[in-house]
Amino acid sequence: MSKDWPLWEVFVRARGGLEHRHAGSVHAPDAELALRHARDTYTRRMEGVSLWVVRSADIVASDPDQAGELFEPAASKVYRHPTFYDLPDAVKHM
């Protein structure tokens, strides 16, 4: 059994209007220290204006071995893409 503090995933919002993006992870005993460590580790040069931390153990991920089947419908349903539709040149701005 590892004595390491739990692992937290760190998400940084680079500036207002942008989404939080995954930056990396930190070990911390609790959420407050996780935020402080995330601040010191990932935002030393104005990389962000907002931080999220979430326990790594709480993230549910898709299985990479299932990626083929899971994401295949996007490829087989080409009619979901605007370029599927061949419209007359006379149609403007569509």
């Binding site: 590892s2 004595k3 390491d4 503090w5 692992l7 990396g24 992870s25 930190v26 070990h27 911390a28 005993p29 609790d30 220290l33 010191d40 580790t41 030393r44 040069r45 991920a61 299985d63 990479p64 071995d65």
Partner: protein, 332 residues
């Protein structure tokens, strides 16, 4: 900072490939050959996992141990400006170590195991940090030469095949340029000073030049795991290629600084379009790898002391969280 792969335990990386599922292995080989990134939960050969765990953790250890020779000069910096710069650089090195430990952990080795391997002497770190920092110009030389060599190594690692390592390297490379420039700037300033100060710069160059060239690791013909690491896109360029690039980039910088390179065989080779340079003392390199570097024991002693003296902080934080958790449980 950077470490090249130092453990050359016989057959450690090559042998077990045969026991892997051939279909999975072929699919993996095809993916890396196609420059795809491998992510933590993807299937990978055990030898790939082991090689990367060793390389990334050695790299992380180097960042952490790399703070020690510089920390030595914090209270001796000649001005508040230089002290603030040095503090920021050292904090970056600690940060680089943390990015890298996290990347290595995704391969299934815990932080605790890695730290323990460092403290018991089982794990290696870059040979460069087992040399002493004797005068203030050494701080400039470390930034210019050691971080300069690190940049040469780390830039191609931004495209290494293991995703978490590549992403850590992108972050590290962004910060590393500051390290090299502050070092060169420090030396430029000393070169404008007294004859004694200029002599200190030359002295630092004389002591750091060869160890910096050794940072790129053994020559290609004596680097048994290199071929596999290159095939798996863990490494992108060989030790000798990177070393040559470093020499070519650094010699003109030494000239601009007004100091000499301590190598009588160094000369521009018009035909090759590269500098030729003298033979590296590989006996010295291997001795330092074995832990016989001038200050190897001192470094590990300082590292272990820092860990032990910080134990009460870790314990207090854990105790605080335990009490908060108990309170939450009682309130629920």
């Amino acid at each position: 900072m950077y470490t090249t792969e130092l453990d050359k335990t016989a057959g450690s990386a090559a042998a077990p490939v045969a026991v892997e599922d051939p279909a999975l292995l072929a699919a993996f080989e095809a993916r890396v050959a196609n420059d795809e990134f491998i992510e933590p939960k993807d299937w990978m050969p055990e030898a790939y996992r082991r090689t990367l765990t060793r390389q990334i953790s050695q790299h992380a250890h180097s960042e952490i141990v790399g703070m020690l020779p510089e920390g030595n000069w914090l209270t001796r910096a000649p001005s508040l400006k230089r002290k603030a710069i040095l503090l920021a650089k050292i904090q970056d090195e600690g940060g680089h170590g943390l990015y890298l430990y996290c990347a290595a952990e995704t391969l299934g080795t815990s932080r605790e195991q890695m730290i323990e391997a460092l403290h018991t002497g089982k794990a290696k770190y870059s040979t460069i940090f087992n040399y002493p920092t004797l005068n203030w110009a050494d701080i400039g030389a470390i930034g210019w030469l050691v971080d300069g060599a690190a940049i040469m190594n780390q830039v191609p690692l931004q495209r290494t095949s293991y995703g978490p390592y590549a992403r850590a390297m992108v972050r590290v490379c962004k910060e590393e340029s500051f390290h090299q420039r502050q070092g060169y700037d420090l030396l430029l300033e000393m070169m404008k000073g007294t004859p004694e100060q200029r002599a200190m710069v030359q002295d630092a160059m004389n002591r750091w030049w060869w160890p910096s060239l050794m940072m790129f690791g053994p020559p290609d013909d004596n680097s048994p795991n290199s071929a596999q690491s290159i095939r798996w896109r863990i490494k992108r360029e060989t030790n000798d290629e990177l070393r040559q690039k470093f020499v070519d980039a650094t010699v003109p910088q030494a000239e601009l600084l007004g100091i000499s390179v301590p190598d009588p065989d160094l000369q521009w080779n018009e035909e090759r379009g590269h500098y030729d340079f003298g033979a590296i003392d590989w006996n010295e390199f291997y001795a330092v790898v074995r832990g016989e570097g001038p200050v190897a024991r001192e470094r590990m002693k300082a590292r272990r002391a820092a860990w032990d003296e910080g134990a009460w902080v870790r314990e207090a934080a854990a105790a605080w969280e335990a009490r908060q958790a108990a309170r939450r449980a009682a309130a629920a």
